[in-house]
């Protein structure tokens, strides 16, 4: 009989098994178990050394199990204290027959070298699997046979070629071998035909027969089938530290498989609390009652002008390159600015550091995408991806008549990261971009057809340098790029070209366990060049219906926009209380004017209870500013004297973890927006008779308040899902108006339920249900015929006093994955609006505003797609 004890504790396994520390300093210090060797986030504490098992204790093999010739694996979760002793042992996967007690008793005697977080010893949790393998006692009298053949093998996981460490390999019932971290094993065996079996707790048993000649060294490669195909990778992501009051982070698996999102990570945002449903699936982000322009969108910390192709299409980032999405519906810290709504920060994925080449290709009826990554040298990882639509080729098959529409979109990304082995420095280079074009002809074949050409896109190239020391971390980014936008109807054209450059620096110093200082700079320089070929803005008072001066003139203007910000933040920790005061000072040099703001912000959290049963009280208050839209700052069409738009955001909430994976988050918010820039038409006649007009002013006021409830089942091997409910009021008025009215995007009740389950054998099933209050509408109660224009002017009722009917929709998704030794093939069917609900999205009026016609949203749409991964 042989008892073998093996530990999974190695650098990778440790990281994989590491969960957030249970209490004290480690709770603050650890953020993200695996950093993927990416450029470090200066705000993230780093585990600078993992725990190392110094004194293992070999458990006793239970007598009962020995008598039954049983083998088993027992998985434990150990809390390793700052002194390296095991403070707590939890049974994760019991095996019975006395194995659990034996493993637990032995584990209590382990002694570790403690882990260090930011250079200081800190408590961590590790998962540990104790293997008990029964083997027949070796013959005592027979002399050992001389080795005459050698079997050398590599055990890999089927589909992704990941090594399987710690698997047990038995050859003809001889001495079992164990695979190392690279999945490699070596067995010496008598020659001839031998039976090989491989066992691993996470994979299905593997059997093979090999024939070895005397003296032969046979090299083999075995592929094990995982027990559940493509298990959700819960162990590769750690829990990020909770700092902000409402940061909701979604992981890769959650992002890809949500029904109705068509595999697009960023569309999942619309199923989170605080986000209203945009009409027509337009994809605009309506966060806590704010307008779409009020929410900042970042990719790797760099602001980008758009999130979705064509406003409501697929996101501009290839799904394969998205690692995580941080969504802040409000109350974000001083690090972010230039937004008075929310913030979305998309974290890019760094290529896997496994030395392999990986590639993915995906296609459905809308577009095709590809992704490839490699690690050619230690510490050097590279990835490239791209996507191209072909809906422009398919639309003519369904669009008949005189209308031609050719939309095209493309996006691309390339990323190189290098962290020299043995150093704490890292550098990276990242380039990404997107391009949309739309060509439409309405009335084809007619002499009066309308030819529409639009395009929008952006490109960024970014260089980054990071350093992760024991107490000091920082990340510096410098970037440059272009934003393009053009719009043409017939001979009319309006184009905008922005040359963008910037610099971001983010640094953090851990002074002691109670105080961390963070700060940074955020500098951006944009040179916006606007050209147009259009009618000049009238410089005289036009008579209604007058069109006497339609001459098209070329105009060009250039605006230098130069916002720069400095920010600082303290993280104060006193027992269970964390307080994060911050200040962001920003200056805007735009259209010849200086604008300055100082935004103080305060975030506080009070935590109680152990990991898995933690409760938190949280609150935030802060001031936020953003510059008015460029179009409103134009001297001829707007008002260059506009002030910054502002918002005061407050929130108070409560979080509770029922278990490690089930949590409840209830957050109330009250946001007041003021100085909102809006179009006006105020005419002033001077004493000398000259007329001046103010076409835009800071006259808009808004307020939004409500409650968000987020019940979330985090990813485990088979299931994830959430229930998000938002009760909100969003109202607005102009200065001087007596009362508020519902804002355009006010939706009283917003409910989203998302669930995804892996059935096994490669099958996966998920659904999403949405129910929201209909958008406010303004009724039209009559009309007046204008005898000078020969048109009708509507008479509106109370603004926003009626609503569209309640929206509800169910989306379903089925995935199936086939595993091959070196690659896997997936097919999915994503069905949107399963029961074909004719949701009312808008009302169209006839020419005299008497008859209304309902416009319904998208009908049942099935999308079939293929995805292959190597």
């Amino acid at each position: 009989m042989l008892l073998r004890l093996r530990s999974l504790i190695g650098p990778l396994a440790l990281a994989a098994g590491l969960l957030a520390a249970a209490r004290g300093v480690a709770q603050e210090a650890y953020e993200g178990a695996v950093r993927h060797a990416e450029v470090p986030d200066a705000s993230v504490p780093v585990m600078t050394r993992g725990p190392e098992l110094l004194q293992p204790v070999e458990p006793a093999f239970p007598d009962g199990a020995r008598a039954l010739a049983l083998s088993a694996d027992v998985t434990l979760r150990l809390l390793v204290g700052t002194d390296g002793r095991v403070e707590k042992v939890d049974l994760v996967k019991p095996a019975g027959h006395g194995f659990d007690e034996a493993a637990t008793a032995a584990a209590r005697g382990f002694v570790f070298r403690p882990a260090e977080i930011d250079g200081k010893p800190g408590p961590v949790q590790v998962e540990f699997t104790q293997h008990f393998t029964w083997t027949a006692p070796p013959p005592t009298l027979a002399p050992a046979a001389p080795p005459i053949a050698t079997l050398v093998g590599t055990v890999l996981e089927k589909g992704n070629r990941h090594p399987v460490p710690g698997a047990t390999v038995l050859v003809d019932g001889g001495t079992p071998a164990e695979t190392d971290a690279a999945g490699v094993f070596t067995v010496v065996t008598p020659p001839g035909k031998v039976a090989v079996s491989v066992r691993d707790s996470s994979h299905q048993p593997f059997e093979a027969t090999e024939t070895l000649a005397a003296g032969e060294r046979l090299e083999v490669r075995y592929y094990l089938t995982p027990k559940a195909v493509g298990l959700y990778e819960t162990t590769v992501h750690g829990e990020r530290e909770r700092k902000e009051v409402s940061r909701r982070t979604l992981q890769r698996e959650e992002l890809e498989k949500v029904p109705g999102a068509f595999g697009d990570p960023l569309r999942v945002l619309q199923s989170l609390p605080g986000v209203a449903r945009p009409s027509f699936g337009s994809g605009v982000l309506l966060v806590r009652g704010s307008s779409p322009n009020d929410t900042g969108v970042y990719f790797d910390g760099i602001q980008i002008p758009l999130l979705y192709h064509f406003g409501g299409g697929p996101s501009v980032v290839n799904p394969e390159l998205v690692d995580r999405i941080d969504f802040y519906p409000g109350g974000f810290g001083a690090e972010y600015g230039r937004a008075i709504g929310g913030v979305v920060d998309v974290g890019p994925r760094t290529a896997a550091a496994d030395g392999l080449v990986h590639a993915t290709a995906k296609a459905d009826f809308i577009d095709a995408a590809a992704y490839a990554s490699a690690q050619p040298l230690p510490g050097l990882s590279m990835s490239v991806s791209g996507r191209r639509s072909y809906v422009d080729a398919l639309l003519p098959l369904v669009l008949r008549g005189t209308t031609v529409i050719s939309p095209e979109y493309t996006d691309y990304q390339a990323k190189v990261d290098y962290r020299p082995p043995g150093t704490r420095h890292s550098v990276g280079l990242f380039a990404f971009g997107s391009e949309d074009t739309l060509h439409a002809v309405i009335g084809r074949g007619s002499s009066t057809n309308i030819d529409i050409n639009t395009a929008q896109g952006f490109f960024r190239v970014e260089g980054a340098w990071g350093y992760a020391g024991d107490r000091f971390t920082h990340k510096a980014q410098v970037y440059a790029g272009l934003n393009t936008q053009s719009f043409g109807v017939g001979e009319l054209r309006a184009d905008q070209l922005d040359r963008v450059g910037g610099f971001r620096e983010k640094a953090q110093v851990v002074l002691n366990e109670h105080l961390t200082v963070r700060g940074g700079a955020d500098v951006q320089l944009t040179q916006a060049r606007l050209t147009s070929f259009s009618p000049a803005p009238p410089d005289y008072r036009g008579f209604p219906g007058e069109q006497a001066d339609p001459t098209l003139v070329s105009q060009a203007s250039q605006h230098d926009l130069f916002p720069y910000a400095e920010w600082a933040e303290l993280r104060l920790t006193a027992g269970p209380l964390k307080v994060m005061p911050g200040l962001r000072a920003e200056q805007y040099r735009e259209v010849g004017r200086w604008r300055t703001d100082f935004d103080p912000r305060l975030i506080a959290r009070l935590e109680r209870g152990p990991e898995g049963h933690r409760s938190e009280l949280k609150g935030s208050v802060g001031l936020y500013h953003e510059n008015p839209p460029l179009g409103l700052l134009d001297a001829e069409r707007g008002n260059p004297d506009l002030r910054l738009q502002a918002a005061l955001q407050t929130s108070l909430g409560f979080e509770h973890d029922f278990t490690d994976v089930l949590s409840l988050d209830v957050t109330g918010f009250y946001n007041r927006r003021f100085d909102l820039a809006q179009r006006v038409n105020v005419v002033t006649v001077a004493d000398d008779g000259t007329v001046s007009r103010k076409l835009a002013d800071n006259v808009g006021l808004g307020r939004a308040y409500g409650l968000e409830v987020f019940i979330r089942r985090r990813i485990t091997e088979h299931f994830f899902g959430w229930l998000a409910y938002t009760l909100s009021w969003s109202e607005e008025r102009r200065q001087g108006d007596a009362t508020y009215h519902w804002a355009s995007f006010d939706q009283r009740h917003i409910l989203s339920a998302v669930a995804q389950y892996k059935l096994g054998n490669g099958w996966e099933f998920g659904g999403r249900f949405q129910l929201t209050t209909g958008d406010p509408t303004t009724p039209i109660v009559g009309s007046t015929f204008d005898g000078d224009t020969l048109g009708y002017r509507p008479i509106s009722g109370a603004a926003g006093s009626t609503r569209l009917p309640t929206f509800h929709q169910l989306d379903l998704r089925v995935d199936h994955t086939w595993l091959f030794n070196r690659w896997m093939l997936g097919v999915y069917l994503d069905v949107q609006n399963v029961y074909n609900q004719p949701n009312q999205e808008a009302v169209l009026n006839d020419y005299r505003f008497r008859t209304q016609t309902v416009v319904t949203g998208l009908p049942l749409i099935p999308v079939l797609g293929l995805k292959g991964s190597y």
Binding site: F280, G281, S282, V284, P292, N293, L306, Y308, F310, G311, G312, G313, L399, I405, A440, I442, T454, Q456, Q485, G490, E491, S534, P535, D539, Y540, R541, G542, F543, G545, E546, Q547, A548, D549, P550, T551, L552, V683, V685, D687, D688, G689, V691, R693, G782, T784, F785, G787, D788, L790, R793, I795, S796, E841, D846, Y847, R848, T853, V855, T856, L858
Partner: protein
Amino acid sequence: MRRSAAIAFGLAAAAGLSCSNGAQDTADRVHDLRVLAFRADPPDQVLRASFQPDGGMKTARLPPDGGAALDGGLGPALAITPITVTALVADPAGAGRDIHCRWTTCAQTDGTTGRCEDASPMFAVLGVADVVAGVDGAEPAVTFTPDTAMLFALQQVDPYRGLRGLWHLVQLEVTAGDENVVAQKRAVVTLSVDEVPPPPNRNPVLDTLRFDDEDWAPDAEVTFASAVRSRTGFGPLSGTAPAPANKVEPIPDPALAEDYTVTTFDGQTKSLHEAWRYNFFTTQGSFSRASTGATSPLDTTPPLDTRWQALAPEDGGLATVWVVVRDGRGGESWLVRHAQAPEVALPRPGR
């Protein structure tokens, strides 16, 4: 992102999200009680006004004492003259019922309805009448003389203080059965401090209209194309081919389009030329373009003609066509023509 959203909306709409509207009454097909056009005679009159302070010629001012501002020394040609406002009212489905007309005016419309209400400043009833709309429609009219108190009030409520003239609003409310239409027209009174005031605007005049490239005289009875000409396809896919269309083309006299000047916001003078626009209305069928003529940013040399096509098999008998011409600065007139539908038997279904 707003442009993106607009594009998305356009895509969705183009993809067939919008629904059809099968109403009998459309913008250019007249079925219900309608007001189609207004004409003011004169559409504009120029008054010599003083300017205070004397800082240059920008905007003429009327002092509170009203009449004292008007320089009567310039002679009777520039005195306030009566204005006659005539409406073109159609009621094809009304079968000759009485149409009650109520003419009103005010210095400032209600902020909510945009109409002259009883409580509006300087509200006055200019006249009431009952008319009957025949085949050509009805042309109720009212005559009034703007008084200086009204002109002063108009200037006080005008944010531009009379720049480009005072727009004296005349409102017509027509009621027949349970139908009611409210329509408005601006009569322009231009205030000028020029020694030689600019000439007042005149209504455009359209004398010539062509039907399939032939003159369409008022008393000519032309025959328009039948709604149903042939049946196409087989079985369930069969249908009626669209009827051929008739070309309707206004022929304006280029010499009648006037040059005029406007004062820009910074006090300069800008010269412009009238761009006439034509609106087409009919009791049967519809037009390929319900409005032609005026240049636009999309088409600086627009065609004037349109194609008239009867759509429904039930169309038949006598059709009325109105063509309204506007000069874009308050001048307006119209002409009426008739056409006869041919007697055509419908083909038998499926053949």
